[in-house]
Amino acid sequence: MRAWRALMHPAAKPVVFAASLVPFAWLVFGAFADKLGANPAEYLERATGDWTLRFLCIALAITPLRVVLGQPGLARFRRMTGLFCYFYVLLHLACYSVFDMGLDFGDIAHDIAKRPFILVGFSGFVLLTPLALTSFNRAVKALGARRWQTLHKLVYAVAGLAILHFFWMRAGKHNFAEVAVYAAILAVLLGWRVVQALRRRAGAAQPARAARRA
C-alpha cells in the first residue's frame, strides 16, 4: 500500500524525470570541467550509448514489474522512461555525428551504408523514432489503441538491434561480459512477454474446449 502511494504521489513523476536527467547533467558538467578522461569524445559516445541501453531496459521492465509486483501505478512511468531512451539515443547519434564524423552528412551516410555495426545501431534509432513521435495521447487516439500497440511492438526489434550493435562494438575487443549482462536482462524481459502471450493463448483456447465438451 505504501509503494502504491509513493507511485501515485504527485511528486513521483517529477522525481523520476529529474533522476533520468542526472546522467545527462553529469556528462555536460564532465565535458565542461574536463572530467571525462583523456578521450572525452569517446567517453560521451560510450556513456550516451550505455544510457540508451539502460533506459531501454527500464522501459521494457515496467510492464513485467507492474504485473509481477501487482503495482499498476508503475504504468505511469512507461512513456517517460521510453522517451528518455529516445533522448539518450539522440544524444548518442549526435555525439557520433559530431565527434566521429565532423557533422559531414555525406560521410555519415557513407559510414552507415558501409559498416554493418553502424547500420544496425542506426536502424535501431530509426525504428524507435515512430514510437517517440506517437507517444502522446492524441496519437494513441488517432491511431486507435490496437494499431498503436502493434506499432509499439517495434521496441522488441529495437532491443535486438541494440544488443547486436553493442555486441559488434565489443567484438573488436573480445570483451563480452557487459554485453552478456544486458542481453540477459533483455532476454528475461522479452521472454516474460512470450510466456504471457502463450498463456493468454492457452487461456483463450480453454473456454472454447470447455464449450465443446458442454
Binding site: 578522461g37 578521450n39 569517446e42 565527434f99 559498416r115 573488436g172 575487443k173 573480445h174
Partner: protein, 268 residues
C-alpha cells in the same frame, strides 16, 4: 632515465607532446583489464625488479639479460614518436631507449632466423586479467627480421625522461611507430628468433581484423571502423576535427622500402 636526442632519421617529430597524465592513464594493457582506465588502477602489482629477458632461438649467442644489463647495453636515446592506436586515436610521446638492432647484433642471429617473437609476462598473481578469455596468454607479438633491424624499432625503457610506468609496459617494451600500437609488446620477458611467422595475440584472436603486419594504413579499414582519420588525444578540446591518418603513421620515408612490392591490402 635521461637520453640524448636521437640522430636516427624520423626519430624526433616536432609535434606537440601528449600530456603525461593522458599518456599514462589511457592505456590498452589487457593483462590489467580491458578498459583503458584499468591499467593505471591495477598495474601497481607488477614487479619490475628483478627482471630477466631471455633471448633465444636461432642465434649464435643465446643469453639471459637482467634489466640492469639491458639498460647498459647501449646509450639511451630520446625519441619523440607518434603513436597510432588501431582504435582510431593517437598520441605523441617521448620515449627513452635504443634501437632493437643493438641487442640483435649482440646475439648474432643465424642466417635461418627470419622472424623475431616477443613474449610478454603472463603472471596471474600480479596481472589480474591473465586468464580472462579475451586473448590467448601470454601476449605474443612478432616482426619480420628486417622490420626488427630497422633503426626506428625502439627497445624502450622510459618515457618523458622517466622510467616506464607499470601501466605503459615496464620495465622494457617495444615501440614501433609505423605500426598500430598493439604491435609494440609490453613487459617483455622473452625475445625469440624463429624461421616461421609467429602467431601473434590479436591475429590469433581475430585474423580478419588484425593482420601480422598491422602497419598504420589509412586505406585499409578495420571491419568495424574507418582508419582514414584519428583523434589526437588532448588536442583542442572536444570539437577538434579528427586528423587524417598518414601512411605508415607518417614514417613512409623511413620504412616504406621494407614493404616495396607487397600488397598491403592483403598483408594488413
Amino acid at each position: 632515465l635521461p637520453g640524448a636526442a636521437s640522430t636516427v632519421p624520423g626519430a624526433n617529430t616536432v609535434e606537440k607532446l601528449t600530456e603525461y597524465k593522458d599518456a599514462t592513464s589511457y592505456n590498452n594493457f589487457y593483462e590489467f583489464g580491458t578498459d583503458k582506465g584499468d591499467p593505471v588502477q591495477n598495474a601497481h602489482t607488477l614487479k619490475t625488479r628483478p627482471w630477466t629477458v631471455e633471448v633465444s632461438g636461432l642465434v649464435k649467442k643465446p643469453m639471459k639479460l637482467g634489466i640492469e644489463d639491458l639498460l647498459k647495453l647501449a646509450p639511451m636515446e630520446e625519441r619523440i614518436y607518434r603513436l597510432r592506436c588501431v582504435e582510431g586515436w593517437s598520441m605523441v610521446i617521448p620515449w627513452e631507449g635504443y634501437s632493437l638492432s643493438k641487442l640483435i647484433d649482440r646475439v648474432e642471429p643465424l642466417g635461418s632466423a627470419k622472424y623475431v617473437e616477443f613474449v610478454s609476462l603472463a603472471d596471474p598473481k600480479t596481472m589480474p586479467f591473465v586468464g580472462s578469455r579475451v586473448l590467448d596468454w601470454p601476449y605474443v607479438e612478432g616482426l619480420r627480421m628486417d622490420e626488427a633491424m630497422h633503426p626506428l624499432a625502439l627497445l624502450t625503457f622510459g618515457m618523458y625522461g622517466e622510467v616506464l610506468p607499470n601501466q605503459n609496459g615496464a620495465p622494457v617494451r617495444m615501440v614501433l611507430p609505423w605500426k598500430y600500437g598493439f604491435k609494440s609488446a609490453k613487459s617483455i620477458v622473452q625475445i625469440r628468433f624463429t624461421d616461421r611467422q609467429p602467431g601473434t595475440a590479436w591475429n590469433k584472436a581475430a585474423a580478419n581484423e588484425y593482420g601480422f603486419y598491422s602497419n598504420v594504413n589509412p586505406n585499409v579499414d578495420h571491419p568495424r571502423w574507418s582508419q582514414a582519420t584519428e583523434r589526437r588525444i588532448g588536442e583542442d578540446g572536444l570539437f577538434a576535427k579528427r586528423r587524417k591518418t598518414l601512411m605508415f603513421n607518417g614514417y613512409e620515408a623511413q620504412v616504406g622500402q621494407l614493404y616495396a612490392g607487397m600488397d598491403l591490402k592483403k598483408n594488413y
